[in-house]
């Protein structure tokens, strides 16, 4: 990044002199996500595949694009009562205005959630309300022009659907759903981004966002097992696509492909082996994430169905999901009415402790942090937290697990059992008030790095606080996007802080039956104190 942190931190919050409707979006290079490639759209049978750039004057929209947006908007207002309410109910009290990480990091008023929603509401008023039709701009309405489409594209991809603003909204407007609707509408005219459509296309073809084929998936897991055996001396024997297993385990493909998520995957494998869980991995349902959520409800439904389809095919009793963020938004908010109820599965019950997870009575899917927290609560794991003593860890509540499923205490219960040095960030930045990584909802692409660093500033700032005060050097989280994007964020704002998943820490602390004395952590780095003990 060319801009130095001390420059980026100078944020101009002075509102522009002109009315917001008269300020076009900045779509210069570096200010937009690259558009979806024609071949991805063709593969997904999505409209208007073409070669284009947001920097171009002409976006090659379909001839009747205004009609498509109008009708698409109407269809969604009829279909979703929530959208209609969210369009009407806002009183512009401003409670949300300074709660968005993008507003805090950029000072751009259109990143105030209230104004971001106005970008859509202004068209709603113009097209669907009498007041707007008669009084136009006086009533906050405006006509749909190509500039509005460009503005939507810019600002609805400067929202990460994290829902922090919704926590502060007295009406509880779910602003992520406003962004979701705007993106759906843009999709109808072929205005979408590569970083989302490429994974969606891959997922439709191979079962995961990265395009990992079955043989590679198996090979990667076996590779992890070899490393685990080298580190612990314990042989790990996972199974793939095994019919009749009790549990199907599904995690984001990022855990299989990108460090440091891979170490978290190793932690899962070690835990399951150690407790003797009767589980299987699937080379078909090889993705917990769902970039369909960032595309349209139809696409989200399709990608989500795969996991349940596989659970049915294999005849498992229930599903355990890995450390993913937005997957849980889909599971907890939408799965049940889209693809559920999953009546063919059982209510999850831990075979080790007997705990029945009534919270998942309908979705039949539990988060691994819940599962592990329950094991620890029942003293079923032998743990040696001293192995993590070189770490001073703080906890980043991933937006979707925190705000979309209320997973606040379970990860902390696990964390405190496996680490001796845990330091919380200020309470206004954790739990349901957590700040986004700045790169969620499919915006973790490199060409908008400045936007990502600005959006991640509030999170980084809170990490810096505990880094400076307590010497925190590790940031824990339960989301694969977090694990991919927090390292560059930390490198920029808080050098010296690394990133880990929860189950990497579990794997390091876990005392396994028959293990050798640990001299390395899962990253194959020497454990402090261990080097001196060796004969070399």
């Amino acid at each position: 990044m060319d801009i130095k942190p001390e420059e980026m931190i100078k944020i101009n919050t002075k509102p522009p002199a002109k009315h917001w409707m008269d300020i076009p979006a900045d779509l210069s290079e570096g200010k937009f996500c690259y558009p979806a490639k024609a071949k991805s759209l063709e593969y997904l049978h999505l409209p208007n595949p073409r070669d284009w750039s947001p920097a171009d004057e002409d976006w090659k929209l379909p001839e009747n694009w205004q009609q498509i947006i109008h009708e698409g908007f109407k269809e969604r207002l009829d279909k979703y009562r929530s959208l209609k309410v969210f369009m009407d109910v806002c009183v512009r009290c401003g409670a949300c205005a300074d709660k968005c990480h993008f507003y805090i990091g950029s000072g751009d008023p259109k990143n105030m959630p209230v104004l971001r929603a106005e970008l859509l509401r202004s068209i709603y008023r113009n097209d669907f309300t009498t007041l707007g039709k008669i009084f136009g701009r006086l009533a906050g309405a405006r006509k749909l022009t190509p500039l509005v489409i460009k503005e939507w594209f810019s600002y609805f991809y400067q929202c990460t659907e994290c829902r922090r603003c919704s926590v502060f909204c007295p009406y509880g407007i779910d602003t992520a759903e406003i962004t979701m609707m705007a993106r759906e509408l843009l999709n109808l005219i072929g205005v979408n981004i590569h970083w989302i459509k490429d994974p969606v296309s891959n997922c439709s073809r191979t079962g995961n966002h990265l395009g990992i084929q079955p043989q590679n998936f198996k090979e990667i897991i076996e590779f992890f097992c070899e490393d685990i055996e080298e580190i612990t001396g314990v042989a790990i024997n996972p199974s793939f696509n095994r019919k009749g297993a009790e549990v199907l385990f599904v995690t984001p493909s990022g855990d299989a492909f990108a460090d440091p998520g891979t170490y978290t995957f190793m932690g899962y494998l070690m835990l399951f082996e150690h407790i003797g869980l009767d589980y299987t991995l699937s080379t078909y349902a090889s993705e917990g994430g769902n970039f369909g959520l960032f595309t349209s409800s139809d696409m989200m439904k399709k990608l989500n169905a795969k996991m349940y389809h596989e659970a049915k095919r294999l005849g498992v009793k229930y599903i355990i999901g890995g450390e993913c963020g937005h997957m849980w938004r889909v599971i907890n908010q939408y799965m049940d009415t889209m693809n559920g109820p999953a009546d063919f599965l059982d209510v999850p019950k831990s075979p080790i402790t007997g705990t029945v997870f009534e919270n998942a009575a309908s979705t039949k899917m539990i988060h691994i942090a819940e599962f592990t927290a329950d094991l620890i609560k029942h003293n079923k794991l032998k743990l040696d937290p001293k192995r993590n003593d070189h770490l001073k860890v703080t906890w980043h509540d991933s937006c979707n697990t925190a705000r979309a499923m209320g997973l606040l205490d379970e990860p902390r219960h696990v964390l405190n059992a496996v680490c001796n040095n845990v330091f919380e960030m200020p309470p206004s930045t954790t739990r349901e008030y957590t700040f986004c990584c700045g790169s969620g909802s499919g915006t973790n692409t490199e060409e908008i790095m400045e936007q990502r660093l600005r959006g991640g500033l509030p999170r980084a700032n809170a990490v810096k606080y505990v880094h400076d005060k307590y010497g925190v050097n590790m940031l824990g989280c339960v989301c694969a996007i977090d694990r991919a994007v927090l390292p560059p964020l930390m490198n920029y704002w808080v050098p010296g802080v690394e990133v880990t998943g929860l189950h990497e820490l579990v794997g390091n602390a876990l005392v396994m039956d028959g293990e050798i004395e640990r001299t390395m952590n899962l990253r194959m780095e020497d454990l402090p104190g261990a080097e001196g003990d060796s004969d070399e």
Binding site: H209, Q215, C324
Partner: protein
């Protein structure tokens, strides 16, 4: 937006990040283009080995290998791959081998 780059009369279609759009278009001239971008003066046997491993894996699997698998297949530590390709295994080595950039939670 696809663009075209050329070396010694051979042209390649590339994406916004300068990655080759179609692996089948690969030709030795492509290496020259990326070599210049990467600031690599002379290609060593080690560079060639990394490129061969990547291409071989991609032909079989339609995807680049995970970084740690690449390390294992070449016998080079990640640090050494960075020494060979300053932009790293993805943006340097995969790009030179003509592979696309991976997307998703990465």
């Amino acid at each position: 937006m696809a663009e075209t780059v050329e070396y010694n009369g051979v042209s390649f279609e590339v994406d916004e990040d300068g990655f080759m759009l179609d692996f089948n278009q690969f030709a030795p001239e492509w290496i020259e283009i990326v070599k210049k971008e990467e600031g690599i003066s002379e290609l060593t046997d080690e560079h060639t080995m990394v490129i061969d491993v990547l291409q071989d894996y991609y032909k079989k699997n339609g995807i680049a290998p995970m970084v740690r698998v690449l390390s294992k297949l070449t016998g080079f530590k990640l640090k050494h791959i960075y020494e060979l390709f300053p932009s790293g295994p993805g943006k340097g080595a995969c790009k030179m081998a003509g592979l696309p950039k991976p997307t998703g939670c990465v």
